[in-house]
Amino acid sequence: MAADGARQWWIRPAIRLGAAALLPVAVPAVITGLIWALPGDPASLICPPEICSGTEQLAARWNLDQGPVHFFLSWLSDAASGDFGKSWRIQQGSPVTPLLLTAIPHTAALVGLALSLLLAGALGAATRVLPARADSLLSAVGLIPTVVMSLAAAAAVSINYGASAFDAEAVRVKILLGALALGLADSALAGAARGVRSIFESERQRRYVQMGILRGEGVLSNAWPNAAPAIAGQMRARTLHLLSGAVVVEVVLQIEGLGDLLWSGTLAQDFGVVLAATFGFALLSGSLLLAQAAVEIAVAMHVRRSPPVREVAA
């Protein structure tokens, strides 16, 4: 890697760390602007002005009467003290914090399981444990959209569990099936395997790796430092894709997670719930950013500590 490139390696991880710190505030701010633009307003959904005289009073009670900035700042000050307010419509009157505390673990488990599936696939592809031929099978399974796999699972669960579909037992099953759907469908696993395989195949053709092999070292240990940043970037993109897929899986399989809160909250214009869920979402995205920065820093440190490996670009 060229000399000046080495000095600038810390820029990208620094930006990521800065962003990770800012996200929990910046993302809710952007979302507030967006949901504020939605047609109609929450107060008139409950008390339509034509048939109910209390609309302004309700708007004032919910800080909706002085523009989005005022609303966001009052939300932020409450959130800072851990009070996310109450749900206006999804679970009218219940405090939002417990909703959030049940939602984050469910989504984390769902996305975590799906991600581990992806990582296993990627590792398999990188180390060629997963033969290239398997890619076509994975792609075939990947053809099935997440929503279809989730629907099949949801139908099976509801037919059998019926009313007890929300007990702890059933929720575990749904998260397992949801993670399966999330990981396999929408070509998530296929994409991961193919993406990582293409990076490693191109690295394998590089001379420095071939020299490493001549020296009897493993392909992985040689190619890994170079490929890590690209793989980290790709994995983060795939995880964000999983997070948006999680919305579909949670709504269809009726899992109480962040995605479901976001989706139903936005449709019902339940701003308190949307912002709280967005905050939770920002925490998850932030942790992904930290992980990516950590990988980049680790690679940079590794590169600095073992100079002989460096060589002039082809």
């Binding site: 008390c47 109910c52 109450k86 059998n160 019926g162 009313a163 007890s164």
Partner: protein, 527 residues
């Protein structure tokens, strides 16, 4: 194909293995049309909310579903006072709230004051502000409720749900109070609103002895999944079974169809403020272009001439069984293209290249329908579009969400976006349609979808309201029926019965009209 058969055997093997597991816990669970938006009776916005309130709360006065007497589980005696402008109620002393506190007269007066308090931002409370002036407590178990005027039947005005004073600080009841998800009532079951389901615990009380320990309300999904789950005993009941699935339920031994007396009729509201719809001849023509027999057969599955079908055509704003229905006004069961053509040309529309034009511009009918109705009458929107399309009208169809319908369609704000709106109204014993057709002015015509305004109609509605004898009221509504059938602010489609499905091992399933759960104490589910 052997491939499919052994695959199916595997899945059914897994499913059968599971079905034995699914019946653990003897909870009576059922699919409702949707999750309730709130458990607070003052903010009930849909039929689902009203039904759920009947489980958690007690109405001060209600009609017994068996003997139809006006009865009360809370009041022992009543008497008219202050020359008939107030009523003194003596309440039972042995009733407890679900959280154990005593039910007292203060609670009744608190509920009246809460409805009168401007801090309670609810359309329902607003409706009662023209009925009550206040309430005064006399001792622990007597309350005097004061009316705005002398009512011929005061007890019929006391059908509201009683709320507990001790759960609120002050008279105002805001919507986002914790009470809305975790209410306290005196009803047969205490409710907890979850994000995916509502759980009820049966509460023994001096005036309620429910024999079902737990109930669980689930949100309706795809009708096929609902029926399969019911077949598999995943749930024990479905509140509203869409017509195409009723045959499957009635032929099964394990479950039976139950009638739910709700007078619902379907309509297409026409926006007569639009230039090409202003002339009633155009509306009459469109009415004649619709072939209701085909629409009914294709979307609800009722063959022509079927005996005693749940779906019967109407020509006015009442079901045919109603005393207000004017049987002299014929129903147009079949389309009549020739007359429609004549009417359209008379109204000044021109047929250019097979497409209708008005003042030289092609007409595009923008037709909207409430998305939720697609379950009950699958594809009705596209078939109405097809029929009008074949008759020469370009059209675009739209589905509206529940919020859009309740906050904009009903309040008359969708005139620029739509020309025709398909919807449905449900009535209980009272079939007062003034709010639908009266000119929207100072509180009247509050549900006038396209702000229809016709002085003659307003006069008839006034005659109904001020009628001194029943015959005058009935005569007014008979005339209203024939006038609306001619002026057509609504193209009237049909009435459609609502049917529930319950498994046969649920016993004593008496379903009360409109409120549904009034008789839940006598329901039994061994399980």
């Amino acid at each position: 194909m052997s491939k499919t058969r052994n695959w199916k055997r595997l899945i059914t093997g897994a499913l059968v293995g599971l079905s034995a597991l699914a019946t653990c816990g003897s909870t009576l669970s059922f699919y409702e049309e949707s999750l309730p938006t709130t458990l607070n009776p003052l903010y009930a916005a849909s039929m689902v909310d009203h039904r759920v309130n009947e489980l958690v709360f007690d109405r001060l006065y209600y009609h017994d579903p068996i003997t139809n007497e006006l009865a009360s589980r809370l009041v022992t005696q009543w008497e008219l006072v202050e020359q008939g402008k107030a009523v003194r109620l003596t309440l039972r002393k042995d009733i407890k709230w679900q959280d154990g506190k005593n039910f007292r007269a203060d609670d009744v007066c608190f509920t009246v004051r809460a409805m009168l308090d401007p801090g309670t931002t609810s359309p329902i409370a607003e409706g009662y502000r023209s009925v009550f002036t206040g309430c005064e407590v006399e001792g622990k178990d007597q309350a005097i409720v004061r009316f705005t005027k002398i009512f011929h039947n005061p007890l019929n005005r006391l059908g509201f749900y009683v709320l507990p004073q001790h759960r609120f600080d002050g008279d105002a009841v805001p919507p986002d109070h914790d009470f809305s998800s975790h209410p306290t009532g005196t009803g047969p079951a205490s409710g907890n609103l979850g994000s995916k389901q509502v759980n009820f615990q049966g509460i023994q009380n001096s005036h309620h002895q429910p024999s079902i320990a737990q109930l669980s309300l689930l949100e309706a999904q795809d009708p096929l999944v609902q029926v399969k789950t019911l077949l598999n005993n995943g749930v024990q009941g479905i509140i509203a079974v869409p017509p195409p699935y009723r045959a499957e339920v009635s032929t099964s031994d394990d479950m039976s169809l139950k009638g739910y007396d709700l007078r619902s009729w379907w309509f297409i509201a026409a926006d007569q403020t639009k230039p090409f719809l202003k002339d009633k001849k155009v509306r009459q023509a469109i009415n004649l272009l619709l072939d209701r027999t085909d629409l009914r057969q294709l979307s609800i599955g009722v063959k022509p001439g079927e005996q005693n079908s749940p779906c019967e055509f109407i020509s006015g704003p009442f079901v045919q069984a109603s005393p207000y229905y004017n049987h002299d006004v014929p129903v147009s069961a079949r389309s009549d293209k020739d007359r429609a053509l004549a009417l359209l040309t008379e109204a000044g529309l021109t047929d250019v290249g097979g497409r209708w034009h008005y003042n030289g511009a092609p007409i595009t009918l923008r037709i909207g329908m409430k998305a939720a109705l697609d379950n009950e009458a699958p594809d009705l929107l596209s078939q109405i579009g097809n029929q009008l399309g074949q008759a020469g009208f370009d059209r675009q169809t739209y589905k509206l969400s529940e919020d859009e319908w309740n906050t904009q369609a009903i309040t008359g704000q969708l005139s620029e976006n739509y020309d025709l709106l398909i919807g449905k109204w449900s009535f209980g014993l009272v079939e007062d349609v003034n709010a639908l057709f009266h000119t929207r002015r100072d509180g009247r015509g509050s549900k006038n979808i396209f702000n229809y305004s016709n002085p003659q109609v307003d006069a008839l509605l006034a005659q109904y309201e001020s009628a001194k004898t029943d015959t005058q009221a009935r005569d007014a509504y008979h005339k209203l029926h024939s006038m609306l059938a001619e002026d057509l602010p609504y193209l009237f489609l049909w009435k459609l019965d609502t049917k529930s499905a319950w498994r046969t091992d649920v016993r004593g399933t008496t379903i009360a009209p409109y409120y549904y759960w009034t008789e839940i104490d006598n329901w039994k589910y061994g399980g």
